[in-house]
Amino acid sequence: MLKQTEGSKAVAEAVALCRPEVICAYPISPQTHIVEALGEMVKSGSLTPCEFINVESEFAAMSVAIGASAAGARSYTATASQGLLFMAEAVYNASGLGLPIVMTVANRAIGAPINIWNDHSDSLSQRDSGWMQLFAETNQEALDLHIQAFRLAEELSMPIMVCMDGFILTHAFERVDMPSQEQVDSYLPRFEPRQVLDPAEPVSIGAMVGPEAFMEVRYLAHAKQMQALERIPQLSAQFKEIFGRDSGGLVRTYRTEDAETIIIAMGSVLGTIKDTVDEMRAEGHKIGVLGIISYRPFPLEQVKAALINCRRFVVLEKSLAVGMGGIVATDVRMAVTGTGLKGYTAIAGLGGRPITKASLHQLFRQAELDELPQVTFLDLDWDAVNKQLERERKTRRSGPAAENILHDKGLVSAKFG
C-alpha cells in the first residue's frame, strides 16, 4: 500500500510486519521515532504477541536482545552513534554467540565533539564485530532491507545491522510502498533457532573457549558472511518475486555502461550523486555510480566487476580512518588490487556537513582530469583548521579545539549550509 510517511515510521511498520517477539528500546537520536512507534503498537495491542522493554542503556538493550534471542524469540532493537559504542561489547557477543538479532542503526557521528547529525562513523566502527551491515539508499529500501534482514539473519544465525542515514532518511517524509502482512509472512518463515535455551533440552551456551577452538569459532563468523555473499542476491530476487520491486542485493550500478569515472558511495548520498551524474551525463561526461548496499560482507568480486572497465573511481564516504584516510576506500582498493585502476578517496559529510551538488560537480570534474589528491576532504574549511593549528603552535594553553573553531566561525549549526 502506498503511503506518505516518515522513514522511522515506515521502518517501524516493516519491523512490526516481521512479527518481532522482543523489542528493547533505549532513546538516542536519531533512532527514537522507530522504537517510539513500535512501543505504541505493542501497547495498543496491534503488535502482539510482543514484549517491548524500556531498558536502562544500550548495553542492556543488546544484552536483553541476546537473552531473548538465545531463548528463541525474534529480537529487535535500534540505536545510533554513542549508543552503538556503549553496547559494543554486547554487539561482539551477539555475533560470537551466533544470535540472529536485527538492529537498525540510524547512522550518526561519534563524539567528541558531540554531534547528532549523520555520518557513517558509528556502524563502521563495528566493522569487524561479525555483524552484517546493509546500507539503505532510500526509505523504501530501509523498510525492505529490514524484512530481508530477518530472513537472512535467521537463516545464517548471525546478526544484522540495517543502516539508514540519521535524519536524512529517518526523519524524512517520503512515499513508500508498505507491504501487506500476507506478503511478509510468505517471505519470512517462523524463527527456528539453531540453539535455544529450553529446560526440555538443556544446553550450555557461552562456554570458555581456549586456543584449541577459538580460531575455528571465529572463522565460522567469516564463513557465514561468505555464505551471505551468495544468499543476499538470491534473497533480493525472491523479494522481487513477492513484493514486485528491486531492493537490497550486494551492489547497485547506475549508468556505469561505458563510464570512464565511477563514483562509489553508501546510503542516501547516492541520490545526490545520481542527480549530479545525470547532469554531467547530459553534458556528455562518461560517468557512473556504484552503490554498495552490503558493506559487510563486502562484495569484493561484484565491486571489481563493476569497476573493471572504468579508468578511475572515486570513493565518496561519510567516514574517516583517522591517521590513514578512507575506510570504505580501503575495501574498494582491495577489490581492484592488480587492475591498475586509479582510485581516489573523498571524505565528505562528516557530522552532517551538507554534500551539495555544486561540490560534487567540482569534485567529479577534478577526478576526470586526474587532478585529485589521494584523499580529499570535501568542503573542509582550511582557514578554520589552519587558524587552530597556528593557535596551537603559538600557545601551549590553546584551550579546547572544538570551542575555538566554533568561536572563530561565529556560527551556530542551525544557520549553516
Binding site: P49, A60, G67
Partner: protein, 333 residues
C-alpha cells in the same frame, strides 16, 4: 536418573544430612531427588563457597519450579570453573554472555518465555560480587526497577577472585586484596567505602530480597524456594567464603560463613517490598577478631603490628548491623 547414594552425617543441626530431623524438615540437598544442577567434575578450588552456594541455590530453584529453570551467568569464577570447553557442569539450560549483563540477559530470557506463553519456565541470573555490585550494577538496577520476572543470585566472596583477588565494592574494610595491599598508614581496603546491595535492592521496592550463607543450608534453600514462589524481580545475596582470596583453610569455608553471621559481620535477613520481614538471629555471638583471625587477608591486623583501633572499627560496624537488624535475641532480666 537412577539411584544415587547420598552420604548422611549426624554432626549437627546445620549439616546437609541429619537423619535426626523429620523427613519433611530435611534439606533438599540431602535427598536423592535433588537435581544436581551443577554436576561434579568442575574445576572450582577445594573448599569453594561459591560452588557450594550455587549448587544449593540452583537445586532449590529447580525443585521449586518442577525443574523448569533457565540460568544466565555473569563472567567470573562460577562461569569459568563450570564450563571449560567442551565440558559443562550445568544440567540446566545455561548461558554466559558478558561480565556486566547477566541481569539483562535474564530479562531477555524472561521476556521470550512470556511472549511464548511458557509461564512455567523460571529464570535465574547469577554472578559474583564484582559482576553484581560493580560492573553489572546498571543492568541489575534496571532489572529491579522494571520488576522483571528474574531471581538474581549474587555469590558474595568480597572480591574479584577470578582475576587474582582484587578489591570490589563488596570487599570488607581493612581486607588485603591485590589492589588494596596491607601497606602504608591505612593498610588494606579503606573504611567508609563499598555498597550494601541488598539494601539498595530493597530501595527498589522489589518483591523479595534476602541474604544467606553457605553455613545455613536450610535457610538458604528456604529463601530460594520462597523467592521462586513469587514473581517479579527478586534478589538473594549468598555469602560464600573463598579460601584462595581470603587465605583461609579450605575446610574452614562453612565455619567462616557461620562466623560471619554469628559476629554480625554479614547480617542474614529477608525483606519483602522494601521492608525487613525476618532475620536470622545470632545463636552464639562472637567478636569480629575471632572471625577475622583464620583469614590471612586480615593478618596485618594481628601479630606484632596489630592495630586494636582498626579491629574496634570493624567491631563497631558489626555492632551496628546487630542493632540495625535486631540480630540478637531480646535479653530477659
Amino acid at each position: 536418573m537412577g539411584f544415587q547414594p547420598v552420604k548422611f552425617y549426624q554432626t549437627g543441626t546445620f549439616t546437609v544430612g541429619n537423619r535426626l530431623l523429620a523427613a519433611d524438615e530435611r534439606s533438599l540437598q540431602s535427598g536423592e531427588t535433588r537435581s544436581n544442577s551443577i554436576n561434579s567434575g568442575h574445576r572450582a578450588c577445594q573448599g569453594c563457597g561459591e560452588a557450594l552456594g550455587a549448587r544449593y541455590a540452583i537445586d532449590a530453584a529447580m525443585a521449586a519450579s518442577n525443574n523448569q529453570v533457565i540460568a544466565a551467568n555473569a563472567t567470573g569464577c562460577l562461569e569459568v570453573f563450570s564450563t571449560p570447553y567442551p565440558e559443562s557442569s550445568w544440567q540446566v539450560p545455561w548461558i554466559h554472555s558478558l561480565f556486566g549483563n547477566a541481569a539483562a540477559v535474564a530479562t531477555g530470557i524472561a521476556a521470550a518465555m512470556k511472549v511464548k506463553g511458557r509461564t512455567e519456565v523460571r529464570v535465574v541470573a547469577q554472578g559474583g560480587d564484582g559482576g553484581t555490585t560493580d560492573i553489572g550494577f546498571g543492568c541489575l538496577s534496571g532489572m529491579f526497577e522494571r520488576n522483571d520476572d528474574v531471581l538474581y543470585i549474587c555469590y558474595d566472596n568480597g572480591g574479584y577472585m577470578n582475576t587474582g583477588v582484587q578489591r570490589s565494592s563488596a570487599t570488607p574494610p581493612a581486607a588485603r586484596t591485590a589492589t588494596t595491599m596491607p601497606v602504608g598508614p591505612e593498610p588494606g581496603n579503606p573504611f567508609g567505602q563499598g555498597k550494601n546491595v541488598p539494601e539498595i535492592a530493597m530501595a527498589h521496592n522489589i518483591p523479595y530480597v534476602a541474604t544467606a550463607t553457605v553455613a545455613d543450608l536450610r535457610d538458604l534453600e528456604y529463601k530460594v524456594r520462597k523467592a521462586m514462589s513469587m514473581h517479579g524481580a527478586r534478589y538473594i545475596q549468598i555469602f560464600v567464603p573463598c579460601p584462595l582470596g581470603w587465605g583461609s583453610a579450605s575446610h574452614d569455608t562453612i565455619r567462616l560463613a557461620r562466623m560471619a553471621k554469628e559476629s554480625g559481620t554479614f547480617p542474614v535477613f529477608e525483606a519483602e517490598y522494601g521492608e525487613v520481614t525476618g532475620v536470622l538471629k545470632i545463636r552464639h555471638k562472637i567478636s569480629v577478631d575471632e572471625y577475622m583471625k583464620p583469614q590471612r587477608r586480615f593478618a596485618h591486623l594481628f601479630g606484632k603490628n596489630a592495630n586494636p583501633e582498626t579491629i574496634a572499627r570493624i567491631q563497631s560496624i558489626a555492632d551496628r548491623n546487630i542493632r540495625k537488624y535486631g540480630l540478637l535475641e531480646e535479653e530477659c532480666n
